[in-house]
């Protein structure tokens, strides 16, 4: 059981990192981080981008669930 969730968590983490990197970075770094800087134009998100969002959210939920599951498994493994 622990092994299964460990593998799931590893895979989803890697996917998560990949998917986030695939997004187009918005908000150009530190330069417009604190005050100043013209807000970026409204480039409507494309279909690809919207699908990417959907995948990211899906993987994110699985990632979150497996973090909690694995955390609980590791915490109560010895005692239960």
């Amino acid at each position: 059981m622990t092994l299964l969730f460990t593998i799931v968590l590893m895979v989803t983490s890697a996917l998560m990192i990949l998917l986030v990197l695939l997004h187009k970075g918005r908000g150009g770094g530190l330069s417009d981080m604190f005050g100043g800087g013209v807000s970026t134009g409204l480039g409507g998100s494309s279909v690809a981008e919207r699908n990417l969002d959907r995948y990211t959210i899906g993987i994110g939920i699985i990632w979150f669930a497996s973090v909690i599951a694995l955390g609980l498994l590791l915490a109560y493994d010895g005692q239960v």
Binding site: S13, M16, I17, G27, G29, L74, A75, G78
Partner: protein, 432 residues
């Protein structure tokens, strides 16, 4: 004031954005509380209570909102992103290729942002490895000899924790970008704001418990006065008048208007403070990694740079802030570019010739107005240190210079953006 809030929520577009930001913040804070798999939560809590008021930890906790020491999945917070941004910002000056990209405008900027994102994740892996390794060898929380992990010898746990924290950093980055994209304000700065504010009530309450109501009232009064002073200076600007010549292009008439270039006293914002404090945080971090070796330099750093009330620390902090203020203003504000643009569109500053004299004038005014700005940033960062040392509150006073500047800066910025959205619909804003 309250009416403006009601108006903000009555506008459907703005309401959606505000609720979106709130939702993301809730997710962010939730993630900051969930421990990584394999962490022994009870032991961590016991140890945390024991070491509550040590200098370095409050500094770490400031930027991570308490998440780092709890070894949560968002333990690294936005620190990797800030560090990556700083590094790229400095590299732009050094590496010609990056400078070319920056000059290219929007597309080049997008590329630099992409590099920042890659670098963020690389740094996240490094930091996560460091922190988990520290936790494993029981050095993360000093003077605490209980195991922080369930299975300290297992490689699998180690790997899982590192990759989870790295993925957590990726998620934070994405959340920040989502806020910038679909919410209001700049995502990353709002997330920093949350982390700074998150530890605020607790540390305020700690003052009350250790010092009593009298000191608490004084702290509150000084805090409010500081906030007011910071707002006053943040809003201050010098307006350089610009007159545009009237000209005919075909049948249309252009220009003939008079505007101004606003030069803020604090043109650099709070970036110098963040630069300086994250630079000063490095030696303390290095000392902590080598805490067991007990060599001379570790002791020296612990003596001078960890507590934060040593005169040497204050002096270095102050001069770093002044240096970075000038540095950052010179990066972001380019008088030559502005002078050229004005010349191109037929604008001039009354009494000053277009072209080179305008450029000289602008940089002259800018360097003069930046001096009080830089001094202000340095003093605000130090005043709480001195004042509270006098009252006798210890290191974890709530109104630290850095946190107060971040709070006020981000809040002002965000409120201004909400205000400009409101004004598009002719509603009265927050600021009079």
């Amino acid at each position: 004031m309250l009416g403006a809030f009601a108006n903000a929520f009555r506008t459907p577009d703005l309401r959606r954005k505000l609720l979106f930001v709130l939702g993301v913040v809730v997710i962010f804070r939730l993630g900051s509380q969930i421990p990584s798999p394999g962490v022994h939560v009870d032991n961590v809590q016991t140890c945390l209570n024991r070491i509550e008021d040590q200098g370095l930890y409050t500094l770490i906790n400031l930027f991570s909102g308490g998440a780092l020491l709890q070894l949560s999945i968002f333990a690294l917070g936005i620190m990797p992103y800030i560090t990556a941004s700083i590094i790229l910002q400095l590299l732009v000056v050094v590496i010609p290729r990056l400078e070319l990209l920056k000059k290219e405008g929007q597309s080049g900027q997008a590329k630099i942002t992409q590099y920042t994102r890659y670098l963020t994740l690389a740094l996240a892996v490094l930091q996560a490895t460091g922190i988990v390794a520290l936790a494993r060898s029981r050095q993360l929380l000093q003077d605490c000899d209980q195991p922080l992990l369930h299975d300290e010898n297992s490689t699998a746990t180690f790997l899982v924790m590192v990759i989870t924290m790295t993925a957590g950093t990726a998620v934070i980055m994405w959340l920040g970008e989502l806020i910038t994209d679909r919410g209001i304000g700049n995502g990353m700065s709002i997330l920093i704001f949350c982390q700074v504010v998150a530890t605020f009530p607790a540390s305020l309450w700690a003052v009350r418990q250790s010092q009593g109501w009298g000191t608490f009232a004084i702290v509150m009064a000084i805090g409010l006065a500081l906030v007011a002073a910071v707002i006053f200076i943040e809003q201050a600007q010098r307006r350089i008048p610009v007159q545009y010549a009237r000209r005919m292009v075909g049948r249309k008439m252009f220009g003939g208007s008079s505007t101004y270039i606003p030069l803020k006293v604090n043109q650099a914002g709070i970036i110098p403070v963040i630069f300086a404090s994250s630079l000063l945080y490095l030696p303390a971090m290095a000392a902590q990694f080598n805490a067991t070796s007990d060599s001379a330099w570790v002791r020296w750093i612990n003596e001078h740079f960890v507590q934060g009330d040593h005169p040497l620390y204050m002096a270095v902090y102050f001069s770093l802030i002044i240096f970075f203020t000038y540095f950052y203003v010179s990066i972001t504000f380019n008088p030559k570019e502005i002078a050229d643009n004005m010349k191109k569109y037929g604008g001039f500053i009354p009494g000053i010739r277009a072209g080179k004299p305008t450029e000289d004038y602008l940089s002259y005014v800018l360097s003069r107005i930046t001096l009080p700005g830089a001094l202000y940033l340095g003093l605000i960062s130090l005043v709480p240190l001195i004042a509270f040392a006098l009252i006798g509150a210890n290191q974890n006073f709530p109104f630290g210079g850095t946190s107060i500047l971040i709070m006020v800066g981000v809040a002002l910025d965000t409120v201004k953006q909400i205000e400009s959205q409101l004004q598009q619909r002719n509603y009265e804003g927050f600021l009079r």
